[in-house]
Amino acid sequence: MDTMAAIKQTFFQECEEQLAELESGLLTIEREEGDAETINAVFRAVHSIKGGAGAFGLDELVRFAHTFETTLDGMRSGKVETAPQIVRLMLRAADTLADLVRVSRDGGTVDAARVSQIGDELAQAGGAQPAPAAPVFEPIAMSGDQQTDDFGFAPVMISFDDLVGGTQADGGQNGFAISFKPKPELYAKANDAIRLLRELRRMGEAKIRCDFSEIPLLSELDPEGAYLSWHVRLSTSGGDAAVREVFEFVEFDCDLSIEAQGLGGTDASLAVEALLVEAGIKESAPAPAEIPALAPVPRQTSATPPQLAAVAPPTASQGAPAQGAQQPSATIRVDLDRVDRLIDLVGELVINQSMLAQRVMEAGIARLSDVAVGLDDLEHLTREIQDSVMAIRAQPVRPIFQRMSRVVREVADMTGKSVRLITDGENCEVDKTVIERLADPLTHMIRNAVDHGLEKPDDRVKAGKPEQGVVRMTAAHRSGRVVIEVADDGAGINRARVRDIAVRKELIDADAQLSDAEIDDLIFAPGFSTASTISDVSGRGVGMDVVRRSIQALGGRITISSRPGQGTTFTLSLPLTLAVLDGMVVTVAGQTLVVPLTAIVETLQPKAADIHSLGEKARVVAIRGSFIPLIDIGSELGYRDSEADPLQSVAVLVETENQSQSALLVDGIIGQQQVVIKSLETNYGQVFGVAAATILGDGRVAVILDIDAVVAGTGRDHANRKRNAA
């Protein structure tokens, strides 16, 4: 039973892969870039799901997959054309299939009406005649228990007991007279008369007589020929069907007659004859199938060599892509826990290595000594191991991008808009966890793009744009991070309206002076929602502030840019991994802190002339003509009571998410370093102003600053921050 549970899990994993394959194939066909193999692959995906689903008795899934497959088969054979509306129907069918898979796995219900409607549409598309009734499969029991099949087509229905029946007590014996004369084809298919006779003997008491009369003279003997025939009298508890099943595979390759007879054929002469024949079988049996070495190339295979030759090259050279077919890459499936354990251990190794390096330096060992050089090598090696281990967790963003095409279809359907999703960079690899946690925010952004970003078709036409809107989703690696953009070609942000709403919701003062970028950024403000009604689509009470927070929780940033009449672009910048971070190690009030390198613009030594007071406590520093707020990290984080002297400090110029700059005052800079990220939340909780922790070379914990929170925190009252910290 455990085996079956494990295989079921495999099945659902495989379903996910097949569904992705299915969707990407259909999208390829939709772009009119597909060929015969694309259709084949799409067919196979559905077929595979059906096959597995049958094994687990998932009737509803089987039924739908069967209908789907039938239509796809029509497409494969050219009976169904790949018209746009058919492909769109198939995409919706793929979504439904995905729903059915999910329900089979996680429970719950699907919209039965929708399933049957799409099923009907599929059947209709598949041809005028209704789709053949789907076979309903019984789930398989792994024990050999008796089971009847309900295939509409099953040639015979017998129980397993019938097949082994000969050995058990004779509760009603049947007698059969069987004549059996194999044709050469039987041997050519690697079937063998002996095995069939052996099966008959297993069924009960069999008296077998071999007829050699047709064997020709040796000179005339065709080694591929068939000259023997057999007569069997069988007494068995099994029925006619069981006897016929023995010959099921060969019925067209032999002359066969099976007649039911009364018992009583126990006459001694027959029995003796049978014994003789049995001995004879062993001699006469070397049928063609067993002497292949002698055999010339058989006639029937003369057509095959070209085909074999065509597939031979990939056998020889692994890398050669034969006719666009892809070599299955050698992969293993590993429990994620094991990978994470390895990553943890490598993290420890990195820390240990830097601790060792620090000790060696403290011991005053010369930089060019063998020990120091050896340590350098160790460091390189450690980094390489770390990178390689991280790469294990890296996965392409493709599956999530594919999921978004469904989101686009659904929202387009609901809002009555026509939308094309263009994706690029699906092969970009990111840490598995990052990918998993991107699904929700991306879904929300895509919904927003279609629902709010794009105009209604009429409005688009009026604005001189094509009726069909375009949402473009791209992923790319940029300086050690992955950048994902979601852009629509809609009307852009209605800034006047955003401003009005922000004022009405008391997010800003009515007379606030805001730049365009600042207005756009209001979209991310908690409690802001531009939808005047909570629509079915973007609603759900989730705003872009939640999106921003979930992106930030991943160590990422999200920004918006919008051009009136031309569209809106959201840009996500994400770390490639959640395990390490490039940081600048600084000291503040005796504490060692890490500032994420991605936030740092530059470091500088403030001059007295550049520092100005603003209001009661605030200070700014003039950098190239702009006044940048000075933030004293030490007092901000409560490490010291008095404000630091800027002239005795180093200013780290950082840029926050919404592109505003601040200068963080620190006491000194130790250096740049890649640090292993350790969660504070596992054993403690979120700390305001702190993104995570790390362990430094001396074994002590250092906190990693959350720049956006620190900068945002300076604008708010302390009580507010306290509450956030708790």
């Binding site: 504490q591 409560g638 350790k678 054993n683 305001f688 922790a693 914990v701 921050r721 910290a725 708790a726």
Partner: protein
């Protein structure tokens, strides 16, 4: 024989430790490790009873000044102080105490209810009292040890 089995089932082993003049204990099953004091890394905006975080074999865990947490004076840790590493639910937390004094085996029946004389805060962290060899030892409830002050006072009311 029957009686012994019952005893086994209801006995607990406890680790006793000192905070100032008073003795406390925790269930040995929740103790992962006992180590000497190591300097902690303070966390910004944390409650005063959170001494900061330490590195324990690659994990970052908080150290709670138990004395301050119970409403007594805060501890100025020295090399002689001890951190008891405990498992509280899914979290691992270090407790800063003066010294470990004993390992006790007691029957659960000998745990008495906490009388009303104790302060509300101290009482909220005490599961009960144990009298042994003329000493009084309070059994600490670890569940809310990291909860915020707000939540704690809410729990009391």
């Amino acid at each position: 024989m029957h009686v012994n089995e019952q005893d086994l089932a209801t006995n607990s082993e406890l680790i006793a430790f000192r905070l100032g003049e008073q003795e406390f204990c925790v269930d040995i099953m929740s103790v992962r490790d006992i180590r000497g004091w190591t300097p902690t890394t303070p966390l910004p905006h944390s409650s005063d009873y959170v001494k900061g975080v330490i590195n324990l074999r690659g994990a970052v865990l908080p150290v709670v000044d138990l004395s301050a947490r119970l409403g007594f004076s805060s501890t100025e840790p020295t090399a002689r102080h001890v951190i008891i590493i405990t498992q509280v639910g899914a979290q691992t937390i270090g407790l800063l105490v003066d010294a470990v004094s004993d390992i006790l085996t007691i029957s659960k029946a000998s745990i008495q209810a906490t009388p009303n004389v104790a302060s509300e805060l101290a009482r909220s962290f005490t599961k009960g009292l144990i009298a042994i060899e003329g000493r009084m030892i309070s059994l600490i409830a670890l569940d809310n040890i990291l909860a915020s002050a707000d939540e704690t006072s809410a729990a009391i009311h």
